[in-house]
Symmetry: D2
Subunit: 348 residues, 4 copies
């Protein structure tokens, strides 16, 4: 039984962690904290937690004995807490971009591209941190004390392209990610863009050619082939609450056909219980994964244009955030990787 603390517990990502950890057989949730609403009970803010978790919201700076810290906080916040916990041998999982890059240079470029331009406050930890996608970095995560939990668009994109890159099946200069996200990805804060009357029957692209997750994707997939890859990425938002569907396009290399492609994915993910592979005879939608830690990859080839077309589905709040964070925790502590995470996708 380990003890867990959450900082940033009152956003969707924090609440997701509360829900999962409250039912996790090897975790005791000892502290939920946030900079606002201190002293209130979490179930007063989120009444669906009545009877599940009724902890008081604590000041993040209060000292609590714990074994793992979830920093469910925005860019630039977790880096301010990490050092102290790290030095106390508390394992750290950060939800933001703060620990997704391993060098100060990379972080600086990221910070510039998200328009923040801040200096990293715990830059000495960057080389210790591991990128939080267990399917790619399981071994390193298991030995690490600090993990940068992956961004939701990035999880969806990277899992969809990694095997094709690794096996050299595609032209790495031709990669396009056309990503569609549900609204919960924007968080709990009410804004004009997500006001119900404005959003229903509304779909739109945003931050075209400038989205902050692009660098994270490029950085991770470049590692696979040890070459710098630039990708075209379009973020689009739709009147769905949970779900990311990313359609991935890339030109197939010569002599690569559907069978070869499919087998590469099968091989790559043979030990990954949360990756579901589907082929050209299938029909796959967001309801295959909604509410679960799954990623569904639907492998297709357009023989007329010699393009790979892979459709990747995740629940952005689960495999794209909270349940992926707990999966990382399970790996870090040597637990069964799927412990407490085998949720049935919600239907209807």
């Amino acid at each position: 039984m380990i003890k867990a603390k959450i900082i940033g517990a009152t956003g969707y990502g924090g609440v997701g962690a509360i829900e999962i950890l409250s039912n996790h057989p090897l975790v005791e949730l000892v502290s939920i904290s946030a900079t606002q609403d201190i002293g209130k009970h979490i179930n007063d803010l989120y009444p669906h937690l009545n009877g599940i978790c009724e902890l008081e919201i604590d000041d993040p700076d209060n000292d609590v004995e714990c074994d793992v810290l979830f920093l469910a906080t925005p860019d630039g916040v977790g880096m301010g807490y990490a050092d102290k916990y790290y030095n106390n041998n508390i394992k750290i999982i950060d939800y933001s971009g703060d620990f997704r890059f391993n060098t100060e240079d990379l972080y600086n470029e990221y910070s510039r591209r998200i328009g923040k331009n801040i200096a990293h406050k715990s830059s000495h930890l960057l080389k210790e941190s591991v990128y939080g996608v267990a399917e790619l970095h399981r071994n390193n995560i298991s030995k690490s004390s600090i993990v940068g939990n992956a961004g939701c668009f990035a999880v969806s994109s990277i899992l969809a392209i990694a095997p094709a890159l690794k096996e050299n099946l595609i032209d790495y200069n031709s990669i396009i990610f056309d990503a569609k996200t549900g609204i919960s990805g924007a968080g709990k804060k009410a804004t004009d863009a997500y006001h119900y009357p404005h959003r229903y029957e509304q779909m739109n692209a945003y931050k075209i050619a400038t989205h902050q997750h692009v660098m994270e994707i490029e950085n991770e997939i470049s590692k696979i082939i040890k070459k710098n890859i630039a990708v075209t990425f379009t973020a689009q938002v739709l009147p769905i609450v949970r779900g990311i569907m990313t359609t991935v396009y890339a030109r197939l290399n010569e002599n690569v056909d559907y069978e070869k492609l499919f087998n590469a994915y099968k091989q790559f993910y043979q030990n990954d219980s949360f990756i579901d592979l589907y082929g050209m005879a299938d029909n796959v939608g967001s309801r295959h994964v909604r509410g679960s830690n799954k990623c569904a990859l639907w492998i297709n080839v357009d023989t007329r244009t010699n393009m790979m077309v892979i459709v990747s589905h995740i629940d952005n709040l689960m495999k794209g955030q909270a349940s992926n964070a707990i999966q990382n925790m399970n790996v870090m502590f040597g637990f069964d990787e799927g412990l407490g995470l085998r949720f049935i996708p919600s239907y209807p």
Copy 2:
């Protein structure tokens, strides 16, 4: 004042035509017909038409004096009616693929690709018919007696790519259409895929690499550069009722920048009142066009990957079907092209 008849009046496309023609200042709607529900009043099926149009549904084979016939019918049906009306000097606008191709060879290939494999019953009319996108074929439509109204995905795609092709700004082998449609595109028939509890919170691709509109798009855009173009096209359906958002990717040719690209579109559509152009500083969504005959084209360039990224929005039931058909009618009869079609997009 001209007289109009509709065959296939009880589907969404037929009802759309009823609504528009009922308020059109130069049209009298004299007959609405369908093979089912003959004898019922249209407002008994569609109570929102109470007081607007309360005509009885007629047998399509009944003779009615008219000047224009709308064939709001599926593939293979309109071809059975066309000859008789054409010979009676009645202008024809067909909603299906029946008159979108100018040769029997092309139609046969289309028919095979949509899995019908039928012989065209009025093949002698194919060379007379004009593809029904006024922005591209205004002059020919104005002289024609038979028009093949464009498919919804095709309108959205073709309008988005035509200027770039015409001005030779892109690599025509690199074109990708990532298309997202609302559900009304599948028509009024209740099916499992569009049963409300199944569809809410559900998005999915379908007919990957095999969609029937691909050939129509390729055929039309190949005419522009007089070379055969093969495109990658992905249809996706979302829990929205009205709207198509097509994100178009193509590699820019050398020395083509955003300004040159944007100006090409401005030039191409300078006389087209239903095309709204937007640039990189804008934010564009489906609510810009919903319920109207507009097509919004949002022009972007990703300089990192040298890709054109154009987001095209239409209302699939309007510019993608019924109002586009009336626009064609206006052109065929020499009316003001926008007569009866200047709808305010619905908001909120």
Copy 3:
């Protein structure tokens, strides 16, 4: 041709008036004003108005020659403008509760019940103002220079009960209004309650037994029988954007049956083209009226419990607000009452 000015033009109610007046054949919209966003073009805020209305937002205090003023403003605001315009012989239509009551005492009680407790700034105009439901007060509105446009819940409720009360068919102490509203009724301001991820799949009652529209309803229906009536009213909000469905319950008096009840409604509304009556054999939903100025009244009797059950449908932004205001304007100026208001309900 009359000239119209709108104050409070940037909320949903103001935008609704802009849309209708822009197409009204006897009105020129000369000024749209608001206290925020002065100097911006309305279509920059609401891009669906591109090409429809591109006026600059004016300062409300700027003098503009006009014949009618729409005060699309919240409680307590219109009363500050009314006097000046009234004295200049400009007809006034106010959207709030400011001019829905004819005495200072009534207004004071209303003000207290909505938690404002403000003194009326133009109380001398209260006795001049007419309650803005043309179906009940057509004659007085036609002679009036100031109208208090009815609240959306109130329109829906009053139209549903008036004939039964007038003909003494029900026990006036037994009236219950169970009202369900779409979200647009709460306006354009983004709030937690109407943040898309919170609101989808969420329905709830609110302000039980204390809603501000209750007094307005009671005051109006008490006039009909010249006795004070207290009603039970429950407001509920659902994940719909446009629409109010109010289910009205009242105990039938002795010897009142369905036929007698239905005939009373038929008689009462015989000259009202925007009231659609439906009986027990019908099926009526919000799509009968959505986007239109209609009120659909579905008359039912439960013979087992001797209760009248009437289901009333309106579009809250239309008959519940903007189009009802223009209907009042038409009556005030002696125009055809339905001029510019015969919208087809939107479907699908």
Copy 4:
């Protein structure tokens, strides 16, 4: 460990039972059967069950050793299976109206009112069966071998009114249930009324004064005061998938105030862990219960009209169907009543 069989496993109610039983610590699901799709795997029909339950769909008539049978079947079906299983000492939980009444006379009247007019095929079991709401009949259910699982509207209504009736706090002739349901209540079969484009932005009442659940409600609540009660009940359907909100109105007896009323509910449900009580200071919506076995009762009094206004929320597929059935099973087998049923309501 007990063995469970489901007949009618492929509807929403059957799938709900599959999900719950697959994770129930004391149940082994040994057979899922249906009259259609025999031989297919359940996860081919419902891919969200991949890895959760991949059983083949069996013929209902095949003999399988089991301890409990769930008849997730429509009216008139379960009665054909019950006798055989009952005689084999297999406990039975039926989802339909087949076993909700204890006499043939009552069943005949019910059958007539739902328009079926069938004779009961296992009428000798009616006197053995218990109405399946554990909060009211826990003791009898624990001793019973056959339970008629309650209807969704009925659960929602009965739980909301029982304490007030039992303590004689209301005029039993004044009871009104204004019930609003999500669409999943109509089941998985695609129909015009629930076709997505028709249903979005659509709310409507149906079967006014004639709904089949009325008799079930009246029968149950009449038992409480041992007098025949007739109620007014209105079913309404909204564009929500899961959830019933029933607003209950009744005139308070003399000297009954809010405190007395609230305490009656508190007392009545003191041992019921799935009933959450809320008072006038609270705000309660469907998200309090969605996806869970909870019933939220929000107790209010309108002192101006002396009416009780109680808003009752359940998830129609859970406390209104599948999880309520498992709760009954837990009671029948002497398990902890909440075993396998403590779901966190889904949010956002």
